[in-house]
Amino acid sequence: MHDMLAEPADVAVTQLAPTQVAAAGAGLVRLSAARPGDRGVIVEVGAQSHPGGHGVDVDELERRLLEFGFVEGAHIELLHEGAIRRDPIAVRLDDMRVALRRRDAEDIWIQLDAR
């Protein structure tokens, strides 16, 4: 799955190509595209979309996300978003609350719960 979703080192790419959405399946969203009230389980954590766009390299961002508990299998719910461009976002992550920017949440994939 990791390889399939790996994208070229193009900073401008922020949206999935249509074929990739189809391959990803229903109910699978990037955390960066989630809306308040969306909840589900994290199925993949990465940071590859914006090399050079985070102020740290992608490996470092991935490790930081992991250290805060953004890890495969964690339950997540988007609680709040900021006033300007809906950014940053506050999520419930298992039993704690974490704030982050949508840009840094680009490669966290969530399988949404059926509503």
Binding site: H50, G52, G53, H54, G55, V56, D59, L61, E62, R63, R64, L65, L66, E67, F68, G69, V71, E72, G73, L79, H80, E81, G82, A83, I84, R85, D87, P88, A90, D94, D95, M96, R97, V98, A99, L100, R101, D104
Partner: protein
């Protein structure tokens, strides 16, 4: 007997942020604490002492909170190096106390797994255990003890519960000495290793912790309001406004009473000493100099009271969340909010707390703009000038005009800080700011004792600064303003003949275009040591030059001697002026080069001059000259 049995055992407190680690440190060590810096780095080093029931001495270090030993900021590097025994001038701890929020164990379990790899004898303190019990969270303590292979103590730091038990466990481990530890096997984990550690932590949680029956729903309800995109920002602004009104009304009232006390003391001394140099030195130099600064202590305490209260309540992380995008627009990191907010009290702790920002450019940008935030040392200057030139009117029963002007000055500081950082990030350092990742802790009722202790600690630091820096400077100022004395038969004020008077006259042409007279120029010279000194210096300059002629309050004197345009120009100068030698010194130490303090000095002096120039000429054009 081993060497360990003879010296105090070294204990290090390690844990995630927001676990009540510092409250536990306070409960353990009480008032026997010492705040200093680690050798070579400027991370605050908090050490305290405990004597156990059997008379054993423990020296306890409160290490900066971290989620991982894989340190990313200078603060976290201190925690890592202290635990590993790599810190210059610090021996490795004999016992590590891992402090955990009992209601939020997942992340700390991963940290504990890292600490186990380090191999120092360890005790786990499950803090906030009362909240866990209230929520109906069940922890199988025996199982967890076996699993982790270390003693577990449950504590409620804010009520000092479990503290004796913790001390006893630490002492037992210290007595066992090296037997309890093993060689360090820690190294920086890779992403797959962090994932594996999470799975391990998850397994441990499933096995020994039953989720709460009555989870905390209050935090969610409060957040729905406080993190609301519109209401949340409005509340944040409202809180800041109340904070400044509080500083200006409550703080000022107490300060005024203290001021009256100092005046009475000065009069008492003047009445009981023969007139001459000694009486002048005591009343004009010492009492009016140090007194005019100490009277601002109540306001500083009120400001710190609000900051510490909001921090302990859990609000500061929310404020950073609300401000991240606004600050991000100016090229600042969301984490810069707390350093910048601390800079409202003093730029020095503000600049030092930028160590939580890992990226060098994000950090330097924050450091460069931090002194633009209105520090408490400006309060004396602002209060004095506002008191002298702004009428004391109240609108709608609660909104004081003086408070509004004060609020405006604070706003000017904030706006200029954002503007300067915007220019830095757009012109000099383009590129992305660091990721913003921050835990939003559960709201907690702050403990009155902890808030009081921290407010007093900040007050102590201010007073010792007033004592060690301002007092000697006041003596120098008094000497400069009195030596050499006037020739016999001189009719002009004595200060005209002194060194300060001559310097002031010498520099006057430079500052005349912005409306400053020579007395102000004189006051600015010692004012470069610390901002608030300018008030004391103005007091000395005017008290000396008009001694006996006009004994009223300094504000009355200024209103009498300055035009409104000059007063406003002086206010504008103080929004930007780089008038704090200690700030420049701290910047030098934090950046390890003279380059940044010099850049800071030049850009701030330039902004100050330009703004004062514009303010003065605008005010004169409007008829306030």
């Amino acid at each position: 007997m081993s060497e360990l049995a003879l010296r105090p055992a070294r204990v290090a407190l390690v844990g995630n942020p927001n676990t009540g680690k510092t409250a536990l440190f306070n409960a353990l060590t009480g008032s026997r604490q010492k705040v200093a810096n680690y050798a070579g780095v400027t991370v605050e080093r908090k050490e305290g002492h405990v004597t156990t029931a059997s008379g054993r001495s423990l020296s306890v270090l409160d290490l900066p909170g971290t989620y991982s030993l894989r340190a990313r900021s200078p603060d976290e590097a201190v925690t890592r190096d202290a635990v590993l025994g790599r810190l210059a001038g610090e021996a490795e701890p004999d016992v590590v106390v891992a402090v955990a929020d009992a209601t939020n164990l997942r992340l700390v379990l991963r940290l504990i797994l890292e600490l186990k790899a380090v191999g120092r004898p360890m005790v786990l303190a499950l803090n906030m255990y009362d909240i866990a019990q209230r929520q109906g969270l069940r922890i199988d303590l025996d199982g967890l003890r076996r699993e982790l292979g270390c003693p577990i103590v449950t504590t409620v730091a804010t009520r000092k519960r479990g503290v004796d038990d913790l001390v006893a466990q630490v002492e037992a481990l210290a007595a066992a000495g090296e037997i309890g530890g093993h060689a360090n096997a820690w190294r920086e984990p890779t992403a797959p290793e962090i994932r594996a550690a999470h799975r391990e932590a998850q397994r441990i949680l499933r096995a020994y912790v039953r989720p709460p029956e009555r989870p905390d729903t209050l935090t969610g309800k409060i957040d729905a309001v406080l993190l609301h995109p519109v209401a949340g920002l409005a509340i944040l602004l409202g809180l800041l406004f109340v904070m400044f009104q509080g500083v200006f009304t409550w703080g000022k009232w107490v300060g005024d009473q203290m001021g009256d006390g100092f005046t009475a003391l000065g009069a008492f001394i003047a009445a009981h000493l023969p007139p001459g140099l000694l009486a002048s030195f005591l009343t004009d130099g010492v009492i009016s100099g140090v007194g005019s600064v100490l009277v601002f202590l109540p306001q500083i305490l009120v400001l710190f009271f609000f900051i510490i209260l909001l921090e302990d309540f859990g609000y500061m992380a929310r404020a950073a969340f609300l401000m991240d995008r606004i600050m991000g627009g100016a090229g600042l990191h969301g984490r810069a909010f707390i350093p910048l907010l601390s800079s409202f009290a003093c730029a020095i702790p503000g600049i030092m707390s930028t160590r939580v920002i890992d990226n060098k450019r994000d950090r330097l940008t924050t450091i460069l703009v931090a002194p633009l935030m209105t520090c408490s040392a400006r309060i004396p200057v602002y209060t004095l000038i506002i008191g002298a030139f702004i009428p004391d009117r109240t609108y709608w029963g609660f909104m004081s005009l003086q408070g509004l002007v004060m609020f405006g000055l604070y706003a000017a500081g904030i706006v200029s800080a954002l503007g300067v950082s915007f220019v830095i990030r757009r012109v000099f350092w383009r590129g992305a700011v660091e990721p913003f990742l921050m835990e939003l802790p559960s709201y907690k009722l702050p403990s009155a004792a902890n808030v009081a202790r921290n407010v007093l600690l900040r007050g102590q630091i201010f007073v010792s600064r007033a004592g060690r820096i301002i007092f000697p400077i006041m003596i120098v100022v008094w000497v400069l303003a009195n030596v050499p004395g006037p020739p016999p038969g001189a009719t002009e004020p004595a200060i005209n003949f002194s060194v300060a008077g001559r310097l002031g006259h010498l520099l006057e042409p430079l500052l005349a275009p912005i409306g400053f007279n020579w007395q102000m120029t004189v006051a600015l010279i010692p004012g470069f040591a610390a901002r608030e000194v300018a008030v004391a210096a103005l007091g000395t300059v005017y008290a000396v030059s008009d001694a006996g002629g006009n004994p009223g309050a300094l504000a009355t004197q200024l209103a009498h001697h300055w035009s409104l345009a000059t007063g406003l120009s002086f206010l504008a100068w103080y929004v930007f002026a780089p008038q704090c030698a200690s700030t420049l010194g701290v910047v030098k130490r934090e950046t390890n080069s003279w380059r940044w303090p010099i850049i800071m000095f030049l850009y701030m002096a330039g902004l100050a001059y330009l703004t004062s120039f514009a303010t003065y000429h605008l005010a004169v054009a409007l008829g306030a000259g």
